[in-house]
Amino acid sequence: MNRSYLDYAAKRIGQAVIVILLSYVFTFIVVSVLPGDPITNVLRDPQNGFSEQEIQQIIAAQGLDRPVLVQLWASLSQFLSGDLGLSMRSNRPVSTLIAEVLPSTLVLATSGLAVAIVLALVIGYGTQFLPRRYGQGLLRGFPSLFLSVPNFVIGLVLIHIFGFQLGLFRVINADSFWATFFAAVALGIPVSAQIAEVLIANLDHEARQDYAAVARGRGISQSRLFFRHLLKPSALPVVTVVALTVGELLGGSLITETVYGRTGIGSLVQRSVTTQDLPVIQAVVSLAAVAFVVVNLLADLVYPLLDPRVKLIGTVKPRPATGDDAFDDRVEGIPS
């Protein structure tokens, strides 16, 4: 591992820490300026019957009437010492809440990504080799169709057909194999559209190259041509898209988890945002920032493995943590 690579890695990690801290402060300010918080929301629930005077007494007793900057400093100090604090909504440690739900979201997001990749590959393969009369053109329209149907609609349709009518899974057992599978399908379909669009465009490009014509001329099988020759160069931009879909998967998991009654990061965020549970929102945003940065770093590391033409330049320029233009700053030899 050369020095320039280590410099590059150190700068990227430093940038990631700044991104995480800024996201923490930004989230705190945004949520603080919004009306309400979980404690006063409960106190002001008309069912409770607290008078305004009593509400103010309780708010003061818990230090919620302190200036925002004082609260921010207290919160940030706690965060920097590694303590994510207590959920204002449930009074339980935020780290416990995240630990409870993270495995479920990881399973769903990974399965959703697997479904998306498989679906994109099937569509990609079909667009190259399916005869026109069997609907090759139709296949090319699938990504647009998948993108335009919201995943909660797909989720509800799948539940009604496979859950209620065919009885493959029970909605009350959201972690069962089939329930997870169909949740992953609902989550994966829109994500597959983005991957398939990029894949189709690159497959079309590679299929027009001389080496593909030579391979065809040698009479190799369709599968061999696809997997050995066309897919590898076409997959390079797809890796970038896959990395960028992390946000999509996290966002989609919110809706999918809600529809399928799964507990996960998505449903935790949904509950926390609707009640403005600041400590949980901040922890999850920071976690998402970490996930996004790490996945994009991994994507960068995978690049040279997929294409030997890609190598790090000696002088590394800083780059934003995310963004499509990132490659231009640090790699050369990207296939056109």
Binding site: G36, V101, I159
Partner: protein, 550 residues
């Protein structure tokens, strides 16, 4: 294909089962059904799944006991000192009997022997004192709130002997005994109460004395309760005091309402909470049990801000009272399961009187009152006075799913007589922050509030004694102040009931409160094979007496 065939056969079988259950059920009504009257003997065993929109926030008992969601779980994990049925009738439970002095300032409770919490601690006088103290005061700096509707006149509670508690109030508190049956008054083990808030927030670490204990729970997902086999102190009023019949109850969150109902229809669950009123007729026709119990409390309606123009004019308020066609609300938004408001408190509250005559729909009277008040109809059909249009801004209550639909219907009704109505819908967070009783932009606050004892009313009328001042009158209405003080100080229901009648008449006549309909805030759709459940005074379903039939 085989799945499809199976589905068709299940549907047919279900229809047949549902049909026969419907015939067998005959004229049994489900609200407040007494399981002792059921035709078949309850069967031991079986598990049920109850699908619910949410399981609230924290599980700190004081902060969650009255939640429309968590209250279901607390009702099975804990007991109360007295039982209050759907008609507000108070009967002994863990307090076998009680006495009070003539001034209603001292109460002596005699406790049932042999009752224990699930952690083994005896439920004795010391435990009751610990609960009364925390209901009254909470531990505010720790985030443990007091129970807001617990009498603020509480002074202290003393242990006389292990089975006897003496409770003293600073002023007459006739509502104390019924309040012990309120959903906030759940008895928790003193060991749990001594824990800090973060420990109390873990439901698995909380011990009650109820017929079920927590087997497992996951925040945002489910709570599973399992039967406590040594339970033997149920409320005699429900006709059963031994262990529960059902082995297990799982409260599972399914936030999408149509999925909750579909899951019950496809036999994947036994109860769906909070179905849409529009679905109820077809579900009944399919043979499902539909329960729409009314809680004891205020009806759904508006508390009017009497400081805000033009609602500082009694004639405008009276016109508003007469301009609402309440029957049309029931016919259009609800089903016949909903009842017309007869006062500003629900008709099942002891002490409620029938004031229907004051709530009659009379658009001609409303127009006449507005004419007299100087509001003249313009060419556009909107009334105006001194160049200002007659407007009403409504903030749909997010705690009631049908609130906006009712607002829209009322806007049409008022529009006919020249009112311009603006409807604003907020989410819960924004609503609780911006919409308050008597707020400067809130002419009408939409009320949804349960209570156990009508004495509670005294604390909402004005700002005296830390009151909520619903009508923004402060202490300007002498008649109301007098009624408030007499009701708060009444030492017997014989003295209090005529005062309550007078108060209801006065508040409605003055147009301080504009009722819409009696409220049903908890709707249950239930499998026909599940029977014997009981609905208490705050409309929670108890499955302590329930069983599954063949």
């Amino acid at each position: 294909m085989s799945h499809l065939a199976q589905f068709v056969s299940i549907t047919r079988r279900r229809l047949l089962t549902a049909g026969s259950a419907f015939l067998l059920a005959g004229a049994v009504t489900f609200t407040g059904v007494n399981p002792a009257l059921s035709a078949e003997d309850p069967r031991n065993g079986g598990d049920i799944v109850f699908l619910i929109d949410s399981l609230g926030g924290t599980w700190i008992p004081n902060n969650s006991a009255i939640s429309s969601f968590q209250g279901h779980v607390w009702g099975h994990v804990t007991d109360k000192l007295v039982y209050v049925d759907a008609d507000g009738k108070v009967s002994p439970w863990l307090a076998e009997r009680w006495e009070q002095n003539a001034e209603a300032t001292e109460f002596t409770l005699h406790l049932k022997k042999g009752v224990t919490f699930s952690d083994g601690t005896p439920l004795d006088a010391a435990a009751v004192v610990a609960n009364l103290d925390i209901w009254y005061a909470g531990r505010k700096n720790e985030g443990i709130n007091p129970i807001a509707l617990f009498p603020k006149t509480y002074d202290r509670a003393d242990v006389i002997d292990p089975q006897t508690v003496k409770v003293t109030f600073k002023k007459p508190t006739l509502g104390f005994i019924p309040t012990l049956g309120y959903h906030g008054s759940i008895l928790i083990s003193p060991k749990t109460l001594a824990q800090p808030a973060t420990q109390q927030a873990d439901l698995a670490k909380t011990s009650g004395s109820g017929p079920y204990v927590v087997e497992s729970w996951k925040e945002g997902d489910h709570v599973t309760l399992v039967k406590r086999k040594d339970y033997n102190w149920g409320p005699p009023a429900v006709g059963h005091t031994g262990p529960a019949y059902l082995d297990r109850i799982t409260y599972k969150i399914v936030s999408e309402p149509s999925l909750r109902v579909s899951a019950v229809q496809s036999s994947q669950a036994d109860v769906a909470y909070n179905a849409s009123p529009q679905e109820l007729k077809s579900l009944k026709d399919e043979g499902f049990t539909v329960a729409t119990p009314r809680y004891l409390g205020f009806v759904n309606g508006w508390a009017i801000n009497t400081k805000l123009e033009p609602y500082n004019d009694v004639k405008v308020r009276q016109a508003l009272q007469a301009a609402i066609n309440r029957q049309e609300i029931i016919d259009t938004v609800y089903t016949p399961d909903w009842k017309l408001a007869t006062s500003f408190i629900q008709s099942n509250v002891p002490g409620a009187t029938d004031q229907s005559a004051l709530l009659a729909y009379d658009p001609a009277k409303a127009e006449k009152l507005l004419d007299e008040a100087g509001w003249v109809k313009g060419a556009d059909g909107v009334r105006a006075k001194n160049g200002k249009p007659l407007t009403l801004t409504l903030h749909s209550n997010p705690y009631l799913a049908t609130a906006k639909a009712i607002d829209e219907l009322i806007a049409q009704q008022l529009g006919k007589i020249g009112w311009k109505v603006d409807i604003r819908a907020f989410d819960v967070v924004t609503f609780t922050d911006r919409v308050k009783y008597g707020g400067p932009t809130v002419p009408a606050y939409e009320v949804t509030r349960s209570f156990i004892d009508a004495g509670t009313i005294a604390s909402i009328l004005t700002n005296a004694n830390n009151g909520e001042n619903w009508f923004n009158l402060d202490d300007s209405d002498k008649t109301l102040n007098e009624l408030r003080d007499k009701i708060a100080g009444a030492a017997s229901t014989d003295v209090r009931n005529p005062l309550l009648n007078e108060l209801q008449k006065y508040v409605l006549e003055q147009g301080y409160f504009i009722p819409r309909t009696q409220i049903v805030q908890r709707i249950y759709v239930q499998s026909p094979t599940l029977k014997g459940e009981v609905y208490n005074g705050v409309a929670y379903a108890s499955y302590y007496t329930a069983y599954k039939s063949e």
